[in-house]
C-alpha cells in the first residue's frame, strides 16, 4: 500500500524498452541483406534434388538473374549479356591471377556462375547466357531452384 502511494503513477518503461530493443535486434539480424543481388520476382523452377547452398570455402560467385523475357538482371538493372559477362570475366581473371599468375584469357576461372532463371524462360535465352559464360572461361555453374513449391 505504501509503495503504491509513493509511486507517482508513472509506469516503468524500462522493461518494455528492453523487450522492444531485443525485437529490433532480432529483426535486424534476420534481415537478408544479400537479397539485393537476387531478383525475388523470379519464379524459380522446382527441383526436388536441389541441394542447400554449400558455402564451404571462399568461393566467388557471379549471380545472374534471367527474367521470363530473357533479360539479364544484375542488382535490379538490365544488362547486355555479352558485354556484362565479358567484363565480369575480365575482373575475375585479374583476381584469379593473384593466385595463379599463369592464367590466360579463356582459361578456366574458379568462379561459380549462379544462374537464377525464371521457370518460364525459353531455353534459348538461358543457353545464350551459359554459352557466353563458357566462352569466357566459366565452367562451374549452379542452377538455382526451389526444393518445393512455395505457398
Amino acid at each position: 500500500m505504501s509503495e503504491l502511494e509513493s509511486s507517482s503513477g508513472k509506469p516503468n518503461l524500462t522493461p518494455i524498452l528492453d523487450m522492444v530493443f531485443q525485437l529490433i535486434t532480432f529483426f535486424m539480424l534476420v534481415m537478408n541483406f544479400k537479397a539485393a543481388a537476387l531478383d525475388t520476382s523470379l519464379r524459380l523452377p522446382v527441383v526436388g534434388s536441389a541441394r542447400a547452398v554449400d558455402a564451404q570455402g571462399q568461393v566467388s560467385l557471379l549471380i545472374l538473374n534471367i527474367t521470363k523475357e530473357g533479360n539479364l538482371n544484375v542488382y535490379g538493372q538490365s544488362r547486355t549479356v555479352e558485354s556484362y559477362i565479358a567484363g565480369e570475366a575480365q575482373a575475375e581473371l585479374l583476381a584469379a591471377r593473384q593466385k595463379n599468375p599463369k592464367l590466360q584469357p579463356g582459361d578456366e576461372l574458379p568462379t561459380t556462375v549462379v544462374i537464377r532463371a525464371d521457370r518460364g524462360t525459353e531455353y534459348h535465352m538461358v543457353h545464350r547466357v551459359i554459352e557466353a559464360c563458357q566462352q569466357h572461361g566459366f565452367r562451374n555453374f549452379a542452377l538455382k531452384a526451389l526444393n518445393r513449391e512455395e505457398g
Binding site: 524459380l44 521457370r119 542452377l143
Partner: protein, 180 residues
C-alpha cells in the same frame, strides 16, 4: 562528502523513456513491415564444359548411340543423348511432350519423366555402363523448368562405383524463334 552523495541520490535524475520507446516502436514497425523471409533456395551444381557440336548419325559413332542391350557393350560409345521433344505448333510450345534417349529419331522415346527415370536407371545400373558423358538436347522454345525436370531425374541416378558423368546442354534450333 557522505552528505553530498545522499543529496544526489535523493534528487534521482529521471530519464523520460517515452520518447525513446516511441522511436524504438517505430523502428520495430519498420522491421516487421519490411520482413520478408527469403524462400529456401537450393541449387544444382553442374560442371558444364564448353559446347561440343552434335553430329548427325553416320558422322560420328560416339554421339547418340543407343543404350546397350543386356550383356552387349557397343564399342566406342561414350555419350548418352537425352532429347526433349516439343511441338511448336501446339498451344504450349514450351512444354516437353516426350523424351528421347539416344539419337534424334532413332532412340527410344518415353512420354513421362517416370519412364525416363526407369530407363536411365536400367542404363546406369548396368555395371559395364560405357557412358562417360551425357548431353541433353533442348529445343530452343522449351521452357527452362522442363530442362530442370530432366536434370533433376539425371542427378538422382546412382552410378555404379560413384562414377561421375559430365553433362552438357545443347540447344536444338527451332524455327519461329522470336527475334531478339
Amino acid at each position: 562528502m557522505s552528505r553530498r552523495r545522499r543529496r544526489k541520490s535523493q534528487e534521482e535524475v529521471e530519464l523520460n523513456l517515452a520518447a525513446m520507446l516511441d522511436m524504438a516502436f517505430q523502428l520495430l514497425t519498420f522491421f516487421i513491415l519490411t520482413f520478408k523471409p527469403a524462400p529456401v533456395e537450393g541449387q544444382v551444381n553442374l560442371r558444364l564444359p564448353p559446347p561440343t557440336p552434335v553430329l548427325q548419325k553416320g558422322q560420328q559413332r560416339d554421339i547418340g548411340e543407343m543404350a546397350p542391350k543386356e550383356g552387349e557393350v557397343p564399342k566406342g560409345v561414350s555419350t548418352l543423348v537425352i532429347t526433349l521433344n516439343n511441338n511448336i505448333q501446339s498451344r504450349d510450345p514450351g512444354k516437353a511432350l516426350s523424351y528421347t534417349i539416344g539419337e534424334l529419331g532413332e532412340g527410344s522415346t518415353v512420354g513421362t519423366l517416370d519412364q525416363l527415370n526407369n530407363k536411365l536407371q536400367s542404363i546406369f545400373s548396368n555395371p559395364v555402363n560405357p557412358f562417360e558423358q551425357v548431353i541433353i538436347q533442348v529445343p530452343s522454345r522449351v521452357r527452362y523448368d522442363e530442362l530442370m525436370k530432366v536434370v533433376d531425374v539425371f542427378t538422382r541416378q546412382k552410378m555404379p562405383g560413384d562414377k561421375k558423368l559430365s553433362l552438357s546442354f545443347v540447344e536444338l534450333p527451332q524455327t519461329e524463334v522470336p527475334a531478339k
